[in-house]
């Protein structure tokens, strides 16, 4: 069973005088700089079989939280425990390198996601089929549209048989046909006791996948609750979100 538990998570960004983000080591060399918490005092737990939506305005910390769960970032404060294989689709570029073909990217990303080279080679045709790219799987990714990149990224992420799936607005770049594929897969993960965490402004899709939501604001979780209720609260605050139709 999958589980995510976070206790007082914090992620801090440090800036030099030119407002460039710097690492802590480099920040020591800069006499004057500023710090800002991108995520502050975030505590939550996600249980098996849950779909959780992260909603909130841009800059509220949704992506930062997803990045921590994905292992892209480490917290500067607090603790996070993750049980389960994680697959992530956190940017439209989906981790793809433009100069490589779809196949070459799939081979690289499959290994980086945790599969052996041998195993990744064995599932390459499956990835090709799942992506629906056909012959374009053999072409450089630089020739792909955003939707095609997202398709390939998702197909690779899916190949690791994830128990925890993280989606950050990327699914909004997908065409309707492939959105159905993603939704169906996400529902299956939830049904098998996994966890899906999705962030974005496509509230109808989030509503179909997620029963629970975290409303985020200024790097903190301001409310946790039922998706529909929190979505109404969020829209009531004056934020735009596509209307939910169940």
């Amino acid at each position: 069973m999958s589980r995510i538990r976070a206790d007082q998570l914090g992620v801090r960004f440090l800036f030099d005088r030119q407002r460039n983000v710097v690492s802590p080591a480099l920040a020591r060399l800069h006499r004057r700089g500023t710090a800002a918490w991108g995520l502050h005092d975030v505590t939550f737990s996600m249980e098996p079989g849950e779909g959780v939506a992260l909603i909130g305005p841009s800059g509220s910390g949704k992506t930062t939280l997803l990045r921590i769960i994905a292992g892209v970032l480490s917290p500067d404060h607090g603790r996070i425990e993750i049980e389960g294989r994680v697959a992530s689709l956190l940017s439209v570029e989906a981790g793809l390198l433009s100069v490589l073909t779809g196949r070459e990217n799939a081979l690289l990303l499959g290994v980086l996601a945790g599969l052996s080279r041998q195993r990744t080679r064995a599932v390459l045709d499956e990835i090709k089929s799942r992506s629906g790219l056909g012959g374009q799987f053999e072409l450089p990714v630089s020739s792909y549209s955003q939707g095609m990149r997202a398709r390939l990224g998702f197909a690779v992420a899916d190949a690791v048989d994830p128990e925890i799936l993280l989606l950050d607005e990327v699914h909004e770049a997908l065409d309707h046909e492939f959105r159905d594929v993603v939704e169906e897969r996400a529902r299956r993960i939830i049904g098998e006791g996994g966890i899906v965490v999705a962030a974005g402004h496509d509230h109808p899709m989030l509503a179909r996948l997620c029963s629970r939501a975290f409303l985020m604001s200024n790097g903190e979780i301001s409310s946790i609750g039922d998706f529909t209720g929190l979505q109404r609260t969020y829209v009531g605050l004056g934020h735009q979100g596509a209307p939910v139709t169940r």
Binding site: F13, L14, V21, V22, S23, P24, A25, L26, A27, R28, R31, R32, G33, A36, W37, H40, P57, S58, G59, S60, T64, A70, G71, V72, L73, S74, P75, D76, G78, R79, E81, I82, G84, R85, V86, S88, L89, L90, S91, E93, G95, L97, V99, L100, E104, L107, L108, L109, V111, L112, A113, G114, L115, S116, R117, T120, I164, S217, N218, G219
Partner: protein, 285 residues
Amino acid sequence: MDGARGGAYHPVVESDAARTVTIDAPRPVAQTTRATAVDVLVSLTASDLRARYGRGPLRIFKWLLDPFALVGVYLLLVTFVLSTGGRAPGLSIACAVVPFQLIMSTVMNAMMAVTTRRTIILNMGFRRALIPVASALTESVAFLASFTLFMLMMAAYRVEPTSALVWLPLVVAANIFFAIGIAYPSSLFGLWFRDLRNFGLSFIRTLFFLAPGLVAFSQIHGRAHEWLQFNPLTGLFEAYRAVLLFGEAPAPWEILYPCGCALVMLLVFVPFYRSEQRQFAKIVE
């Protein structure tokens, strides 16, 4: 992030809590199908090489011609056009230029290695600590093509291969080990000081001229002779000369000193890099 709370820092001090952060590793896939460090290294290196040499049958020619484009023309000029003194001057210079090219290209690769993989770093967690090693391995594969230059030079000067060639793998291994060692600080430098990358490269070039690159070590006398020994490139260059030019086993210091320097760099910078790689996604964003 824009709306997040902020404040000044003078200086930044990590909280105790930050040191107690633990992330439990995600449960791996079945043992037999799990990627090893070797898998990750091979994949990173292979993708790097693919991006450089492309696809199809011509890539082997690109690989073989690359060293000639980088240093071969210069060496051929020294060998066949300029009349310089000393024993097999073209081969002697090749014994410095070729191993230096591995170091130089590794530094260049490592400086860009993190930003080149920006899209991956922002999308998924993986063994980012292996990125500098992949840079060194990519350049090592490219470097192996340079051995055609050695063969050409030896043929041009009629220097016959001797049994000392059995030492060549050890010398090459020391060269690659030094490249791996310098890849870690280079990677951090390239990320922290993007505007100063050219200065970093100039520093490495300076190391070449502060070593017996254009003349053999034995032809340098006085205080310079003593000082140049502290440059780890001196040992590497002389080790190649010993094996390829003079048909001798390299002196132990010629191997041990560069390896020792590489080891020190690894001991200092790998822990530092492992700590910093947790912040890469913030910096490359």
